[in-house]
């Protein structure tokens, strides 16, 4: 792992432009559809080990626009109890990155909507970031969301690797993120920006207040180059509509993971998605 920190030295000097618009499935989606995009998160390996692609396929059929598949981590500090639980169950079931990539080998035979992987930085670093990016692209993943990968480390260590494999890195913006930093995130992003609805871990229901609306409006008024998608606390039709009034789309996570924790979850997927989209 000593090689990880020096990894950027091992890569050929590629000088990818930040603004390089490789048109992956994400870019195509955002070109085509500007409003009411619905994304759903679920943890790979939860509640059962081998249903990852089944769930993805069912979500596409139910009308979801893009997916986030979580790779589990033992210490998910940005997550509330629901996703902590799904992550631990997935690990107990035997989920790991090797297995996830095996499962995703036939992803593109069954699923055509954009797919992102979401997880924490340590499992990715242990797998090898170069290898992770290569494998993700090979199985047809379009982007990655790693909440604890900071901008400085992304830029200095991993940006070239992501670019080489045409993977989008998705940055988060919170109500506390300063405008200059949002501008920088906008420059570094090449598919969309993930807006957190509030200062919170995942799984707390969105309380739409004047403060939240002022924040959403403030971001909207920045006229960012990248589309925005709001996540954290989107649990039903009301919160979905509120979020998509200000952003191009919204992400449902914990609320869906809760459905996965009930019996007969596969059959409940269409109904749940319908309840969000209305």
């Amino acid at each position: 792992m000593g090689g990880q920190i020096a990894m950027h030295h091992e890569l050929p000097a590629m000088n990818h432009q930040l603004s390089t618009k490789h048109m992956n499935r994400l870019n195509q989606l955002f070109e085509k559809k500007k409003n009411n995009l619905l994304s759903v998160y679920f943890t790979a390996g939860y509640p059962e080990l081998n249903t990852t692609v089944d769930i993805a396929e069912a979500l596409e059929k139910a009308g979801v626009d893009f997916l986030e598949i979580g790779f589990p981590y033992s210490d998910p500090v940005a997550d509330g109890p629901t996703i902590q639980h799904s992550s631990q169950t997935a690990l107990d079931n035997g989920m790991n990155l090797n297995l996830l990539f095996e499962q995703l080998a036939d992803l593109r035979k069954r699923v055509s909507i954009p797919v992102l992987l979401m997880g924490y930085v340590n499992p990715m670093v242990q797998y090898g970031v170069e290898r992770f990016c290569a494998k993700a692209t090979e199985v047809g993943v379009d982007g990655v969301i790693v909440p604890d990968l900071p901008m400085y480390e992304y830029e200095t260590l991993y940006k070239d690797c992501f670019a080489k494999h045409q993977l989008s890195n998705i940055f988060l913006v919170t109500p506390q993120t300063a405008e200059a930093r949002i501008r920088k995130i906008d420059d570094l992003s090449n598919s969309f920006i993930y807006l957190l609805s509030s200062a919170s871990v995942t799984g707390n229901s969105l309380q739409v207040s004047d403060v939240t609306e002022t924040y959403f409006q403030r971001i909207k008024d920045l006229h960012l180059k990248n589309p925005t998608v709001i996540g954290f606390g989107i649990a039903d039709q009301a919160t979905f509509q509120k979020a998509t009034a200000y952003a191009n789309g919204a992400i449902v996570g914990s609320a869906f993971v809760k459905i996965l924790g009930t019996s007969g979850y596969m059959e409940k997927i269409p109904e749940f998605i319908k309840s969000i989209k209305g």
Partner: protein, 393 residues
């Protein structure tokens, strides 16, 4: 200055600030302001005054004659156990509460393992009249019950961490989640030299008073500022970093960091991070941690709640890699024996954490003229039930 932090918060390959965006404004505020705040004359004088009149510093450097006789060297104990609240943790807690006040924070959160940092934090919050919430692993709350009661008596709210191994790492996760949800009014007082930059550096600076005093006291007592050896126990590593800090550039001083081997390094029940760990990212910094091939954090084990942590601070990872300090380990049984020995030779019952450092004396060979300093980081009151159970008193 090859062992200090660079502008990006790295010690060589280790450190940085691997935090979710939700924590960025808090950590960035700290990074931008802490050096200026703690460098301010008003801060320094208040800090020094509290360390003197409230904590009772300087802590004595005590030449332990009977212990010295046994091991054939001059063994000095740096008596952090005599600090108010019973350990070195108060040094950092005082520093950070003064910092939090100057940052305008109204609420303090902390994680704790053995409860020493939790008690120190609850103490300074009582002193300053600030709300205090301490996260503590459910298992640690059972094995360190007296410290839980102390925190409550001091007015703190103690919240059990019920996820994962229900020990220090999970308490740290819960504290970080709290901070994510309360980014504006809350300061997180991390208790060790771990976490995202600037924490490891800031905590080391507050704890560096230990080695600063030691140098002065050694000069007074022996005529020489530098000892041959300096020993300290390491969980996250704050007492060790404080004890090493002003000796780092004095390369002739041998620094020995003692980790907890638990039931044995290869037993599957250990917290000997430098042996069992690999480079990775834990609690916001790139360091050495115990993990699976897949990068999942492994549950550590030690009889000592304060050493029961799967990582070490990033500066320790750097000192280990650069071989500036030697990282060794001691089992549960060896540490308890050393605790008994110190009690009966010197009349001092040490915390089981600190007893790990004393146990390593058994494995060393000294010249008669060697000066050896051991950080006696805490007193053993909180561990009496463990000692009693083991020895059947």
């Amino acid at each position: 200055m090859k062992y200090t932090v660079n502008e990006q918060g790295y010690y060589g390959d280790f450190g940085g600030a691997y935090i979710p965006e939700m924590l960025y404004p808090n950590v960035e505020e700290l990074r931008q302001q802490y050096q200026q705040i703690i460098g301010d004359a008003g801060f320094k004088s208040e800090f020094d005054q509290l360390l003197k009149d409230y904590v009772g510093r300087p802590s004595p450097l005590y030449l332990a004659k009977r212990l010295s006789e046994k091991y054939g060297a001059n063994i000095f104990l740096k008596r952090e156990d005599l600090n108010h609240t019973g350990s070195h943790k108060i040094n950092n807690a005082i520093g950070q509460i003064l910092l939090a006040q100057r940052l305008g924070k109204k609420r303090i959160i902390a994680e704790t393992g053995a409860g020493q940092h939790g008690v120190a934090t609850a103490t300074v919050c009582a002193l300053m009249g600030i709300e205090c919430v301490v996260y503590m692993g459910e298992i640690d709350m059972e094995r360190q019950a007296p410290n839980v009661a102390r925190m409550k008596m001091l007015g703190a709210t103690v919240v059990p961490a019920t996820s994962g191994s229900k020990t220090l790492k999970d308490a740290t996760n819960e504290a970080m989640r709290d901070w994510i949800g309360n980014p504006v009014d809350t300061h997180y007082i991390i208790g060790s030299v771990v976490g995202p930059y600037p924490y490891p550096e800031m905590v080391a600076q507050f704890q560096s008073i230990i080695s600063l005093e030691t140098k002065k006291q050694l000069l007074e007592q022996t005529g020489k500022e530098l000892p041959e050896y300096v020993l300290a126990c390491v969980g996250g590593g704050s007492n060790a970093m404080g004890m090493f800090y002003h000796f780092l550039e004095d390369e002739q001083v041998k620094l020995i960091a003692v980790e907890a081997a638990g039931k044995g390094v290869d037993s599957g029940h250990s917290a000997a991070t430098s042996v069992l760990g690999r480079e990775g990212i834990l609690h916001g910094s790139r360091t050495i941690l115990m993990q699976t091939d897949d990068g999942q954090v492994v549950e550590p084990y030690s009889i000592s709640a304060g050493l029961d942590y799967p990582g070490i601070g990033p500066q320790h990872a750097h000192l280990h890699k650069r071989q500036r300090a030697q990282y060794v380990n001691i089992t549960d049984d060896e540490s308890l024996q050393a605790g008994l020995l110190l009690s009966q030779l010197e009349g001092i019952i040490p915390a089981i954490e600190s007893a790990h450092a004393f146990a390593y004396l058994e494995k060393m060979k000294f010249e008669k003229s060697d000066n050896v300093v051991i950080c006696l980081s805490g007193r053993g009151d909180k561990d009496l039930s463990t000692y009693i159970k083991h020895f059947g008193f």
